[in-house]
């Protein structure tokens, strides 16, 4: 089990360029999430998905788009990168056990993005 993987690990972009971050999970989870983490702050939710073919906005969705064409993959796109999008991006998938009311989010290793 690889768990949650993210590609690339690090990327430098120029303002206005576009890119796609890929998240993959092999745990058959329905829920997947994209967060960004800035220095001294916790994680802020960008977009999330509750199942294949679904997406929803989180707390800071502007400037980002997502797609969940396959259950195991969740893509995060930056249409026109801005310096304010310099951050570390984390993907997570969520397991839920409804009968016991327990849940866990499993995180990928992160993608460091620098926008110049």
């Amino acid at each position: 089990n690889a768990g949650v993987t993210q590609t690339p690990k690090f990327r430098v972009l120029k303002t206005g360029q576009s890119m796609t971050l890929l998240c993959a999970q092999d745990m058959n989870h329905e829920y997947m999430y994209w967060y960004r983490q800035d220095p001294g702050m916790g994680l802020r939710l960008i977009h999330y998905s509750v199942g294949e073919g679904t997406t929803a906005k989180g707390e800071v969705p502007d400037g980002y788009n997502v797609s969940r064409l396959k259950k195991q993959n969740f893509l995060l796109g930056l249409e026109s990168a801005a310096p304010s999008q310099t951050s570390v991006y984390f993907c997570a998938s969520r397991s839920v056990t409804w009968t016991s009311g327990t849940e866990t989010q499993y995180f990928g290793p992160g993608t460091r993005l620098l926008v110049l």
């Binding site: 967060y35 916790g42 989010q105 499993y106 995180f107 290793p109």
Partner: protein, 112 residues
């Protein structure tokens, strides 16, 4: 805006001492979770406590929850240098269980 606020923002202790971190949140919740993040890594789930529970233990971890005060604490007993990390609380929002809202974290430094 962030649901959880951790206190203190940073904590430095010696190995063998106990470390206590606190989390306050704003709205009613179904459960509260604690996560750990080593430098440069993703978060790792530590423990979940449901809103009808007051205390939970897992190894050297002890979590308490006071829903009347909207607060939780994480106690790490007999800390080790390997416990050095940032610790985050995360809550769902009662009636919106699809997502978590993370606090700003406590940076714990344990000196050998």
């Amino acid at each position: 805006s962030q649901q959880g606020e951790e206190d203190p923002q940073a904590l430095s202790i010696q190995e063998g001492e106990n470390a206590t971190m606190n989390c306050s949140y704003k709205t009613s919740i179904n459960n509260l979770q604690w996560y750990r993040q080593n430098s440069g890594r993703g978060l790792v789930h530590l423990i979940l406590i449901r809103s009808n529970e007051r205390e939970k233990h897992s190894g050297r971890l002890r979590v308490t929850l006071d829903t009347s005060k909207k607060s939780s604490s994480l106690l790490i007993t007999a800390s080790r240098a390997a416990d050095t990390a940032s610790y985050f609380c995360a809550t769902d929002a009662y009636g919106d269980t699809d997502k978590l809202i993370f606090g700003t974290g406590t940076r714990l430094q344990v000196f050998p």
